[in-house]
Subunit: 338 residues, 4 copies
């Protein structure tokens, strides 16, 4: 059950509602929007009793039962799209945002070279991993803070915002110091301690879907972040695991219209990981924008064959540039712009 | 191993090669193209010996080893796209073909009404099932020949070509009498007797991917049709089965660029079955064209709630018309036309 | 809705009920058991009206609503286990039946050699394919009728009953002439014409689960056979397709207790196809019996490396003999015998 | 590449080898067994050069190339079974160990009641969650340290060892203070920071398979623990996610023989989570022991309907007791004992 307070509700009005909920035996969570405050009654089963007790309190505008297990992420709760702001750019609004860069940060020279190339082609955000979750403990694990500094330097020189992954709750303060968007990878989609930790920071979070997470579980993981107070969650579809082996994962393109219906959160698509091969990336990126995605997160590298990770699925800047041209035109067809 | 004969090869030249292959202990299959004839040496393991024996025979242009398990469907074997002709329309060329209509043929009035609506919006081919494979023996199983006659009548009145499913090898002659394209459904993708039977008819075949068939198995099933002499095979991606339940199946959009790389056969996309819900169909159709598909096969119904099957995933003509507008514009972006 | 007639119901009583159902606007199917006749009202939605009209007719014992989509296969409908008889042996009763033999029939000598070996170790039924559904049209497709004759000869010499696959509705009369049990393979689980055809023959049918069929779809396919009048259906779990590649398929061992709860039909397990490797077969066979399966269908070959198909997953007779020893002991633990 | 030192190798001999490896440009990891020390050369590509440089150094017994991506967990590296000791009981040896208890620790009374019941039936280890990873942030998240104290009290009173889950790297020292075995849940199988952390503690770790992890990825995650120095890793199969919905997950029983072939680590089976329903649990537990598992981890509750989590899949003590009887008999058949 969600209680929407009227726009003029005072602190006292809100406290009064909160106490009433407690009196009825339920917990509550406050969600402060730009215009209105809403209060989530957790586990509310006896709707009639709650309605009777609360609807006549001062400044209570309306009560909405939320049937889906995800509450704050639900469109029932928040009908308009959430628009996330990152250094003046917006994600989830009319504009489609392209995030591009190397899989992992390997050296300052290469990162700068790639950053300039993707910026020139129209990307607004630079991606790059400093902490890399790798299947093998014997593989390159990322440069750590040194990598974060390189990303910050690239931001300085190009004006691009930066997104980078955080893999440990302990590292969140460090990564948040440098990054504009905190990325939670697919392997950590249900690392709830990490989700709660980023939920307490004031930085947008990009939450990748786990390789076998249902859409509902994914939205429940977003809820872990939102329920700690951080409402700037961006969802990122990156392919699910199926029996098919010609591609690395199976891009579940249907999540785009499904998420748009169920949730107000922005959804972007990573075409690189499901493809697993740079040859297929442009087709998947075009499909994502045509399906209605709010952005693309993809791997671009100037020397893919030299990359320390995921080189095979990284496209070259020349391919990225041509792709951006197509994406701009498709964006227009679906009433958006890049 | 594939032997390409030069364009001036005579019947005698071809027979000579065929006999040589037999002498070496292998079977062969002849594939006659518009310009050149190619000969497939089945199970050829001793490449060197075959090459030495055959490359100097008259009119032998070149020998190509085909490493993939599918031979006639492989792009190694036939580098240019196969273009299938259906009553003057082409599938697999520059033009993108839209096939639309009801899931099943239910009455002449409804079929004609739908046929006129989809034609007006720009569809070129009318779909509709007269023989329906249903999970339950207690569900409506289709109108049979009466349904085929209704489709033929709709063709007569609208000029649309018709595609309809055949579910039994015994019914192939009957269905082929009425249909312009024979459809093999997902459940029958590995019904090899049915594949061989349609392979002996002179009608294009649309082969849907099984719900858990790998791309390789799908191309091997196409090979069953091609190896009987029918080269007009159109592949149709219609979603695979995964753990996700918000959609009926998971549209594997990546198959579009993968098939385009591996094979010369046209590939079209059915956005209705994976969606399972008309709300998601337009997004998937747009994604398919953006990804490079050669066409769309989708369910349109004037009264979805009254449909005897799959009404939930059928869009109304008004939605179809708007979608066609978008598809035409996306086709332009990817260098195609509708 | 299922109507159970009392044990003394006459033909006239049954006809009266049938006509009443027709009058109410529904179709019906008669299912004659050893003691009682039951009548299935198809698509019955208005339960109250049906009950009122029918419960007072003579010889009507009781009306049972069947909520599951499968009716005749449901345990609600038929609480006791179905016991299938094959030449005096029973499947689904106290005894556990072992079916073993080569993947495909390749020569009389080899089949006889294998038949004698599996008989000696305790198998009761000989398996072997004469019509082989193969992914590639260029692979060995089976010996056809010649293979069936070899199986019949092996039956003659050993007393083993024989089970063999039928892949085409056209071949059913031929295969039924030789086989004691007709096998429907995984690829044809939803080849409804084939299911209906074997449903009209008086031979037990072993129905393998499709590689991505849900348990419900599998029981619905059994329903196609049962609803044509053939009630001797044996289910066979043979592994489903998942992302895991160390094994050929993933044996879904849970189907054994699930089917036992939902249905009265016998369920046996094929440990060879999911394993894909003879090393893993004994463990899976033991697990199947421990889980409560009614039998095992497995591949045994005297010279696995020479087999024309599936040699890798065929165990040698010496391994089979040791396994039979373990299976007998596990059968005792679960209150059964081999 | 793995270098096995002879049993009399001195510290100096080992250091010499280590330095040689460094000189050749590779990193190394030391693995000290009871009798022999082995050294892992990481990423060794130039085998010939390494062999020539190292095989003649003092106390080098032999060099073994390990082709699998997992090294320390590979049977090539360590042919005998690893036997993990927990308070005098062994896991991975002749004896099969049963771990049972409630899903989550809810109150001292209930935990003690269950502990006594499972002990009486023959369980050796008590399971129970104090930190619960839940899909919803609004669900019961566990009692935390209070729950750990209750488990310790149950150990005190019954003599059972205790296994409990740790969900955060930060909590490892706290959980390790109370638990005898640290459990890593399926959701955290690729939470590498957590794996590394438990790898530095001197407590056995039970590592559950992720719901869509391949066997290789699972063994690679074990490698994260082993490569930090903790060799007491117990693998636990708990079902994978597939399309089938009659069960909560699909128990992949084949992992038991596959892991036994690939690795020396003990493997146990959790029949409760894949079943998702207590009705199916005994069949799966019997199957696991028949397949060769080293133990069972299952949920038992005295009042399943009152459990705060997973009550539906918890069996009652009476069922558990009967099951133990069967398991003991099946253990004998496969040459083991409980």
């Amino acid at each position: 059950m969600i209680i929407t307070m009227s726009s003029g509700a005072t602190k006292k009005d809100i406290t009064r509602v909160k106490e009433k909920i407690k009196e009825l035996g339920y917990e509550s969570k406050i969600f402060k929007g730009v215009k209105k405050t809403v209060i989530h009654v957790i586990g509310a089963t006896d709707r009639e009793r709650i309605t009777q007790s609360i609807e006549q309190l001062p400044a209570v505008e309306r009560l909405t039962p939320i049937l889906s297990p995800f509450k704050m992420g639900s469109r029932e709760f928040h009908p308009e799209n959430t628009i996330v702001s990152v250094n003046g750019k917006t994600i989830g609004g009319e504009e489609i945002v392209i995030m591009a860069g190397p899989c992992s940060v390997e050296s300052e020279d290469i990162v700068l070279e790639i950053a300039k190339a993707v910026k020139e082609a129209g990307a607004k955000i630079l991606r790059g991993g400093a902490f890399k979750p790798r299947s093998s403990p014997y593989s390159f694990q990322g440069m750590g803070e040194k990598g974060l500094k390189i990303l910050a330097e690239a931001r300085e020189q190009t004006g691009l915002s930066i997104i980078t992954e955080v893999v440990s709750e302990v590292d969140v303060p460090l990564v948040a110091k440098y990054a504009d968007i905190l990325q939670i990878g697919a392997r950590n989609m249900q690392n709830y301690q990490l989700l709660k930790t980023v939920g307490r920071f004031n930085k947008p979070v990009l939450l990748k879907r786990g390789i076998s997470a249902t859409i509902e579980e994914w939205l429940m993981s977003a809820e872990y972040i939102q329920s700690e107070g951080n409402h700037d969650v961006i969802l990122c579809e990156r392919g699910i695991r199926t029996f098919e082996t010609y591609t690395r994962y199976t891009l579940d393109i249907s999540t785009v219209p499904v998420i748009k219906e169920l949730s107000h959160l922005p959804i972007i698509v990573d075409p690189s990981h499901p493809a697993g091969n740079s040859k297929y990336v442009p087709a998947l990126a075009r499909a994502a924008i045509a399906a209605g995605a709010d952005g693309i997160l993809m791997e671009v590298h100037t020397q893919p064959s030299q990359a320390l990770s995921d080189g095979k699925q990284s496209v070259k800047p020349i391919v990225f540039k041509e792709l951006m041209h197509d994406l701009k035109n498709i964006a227009k067809v679906v009433g958006r712009k890049i």
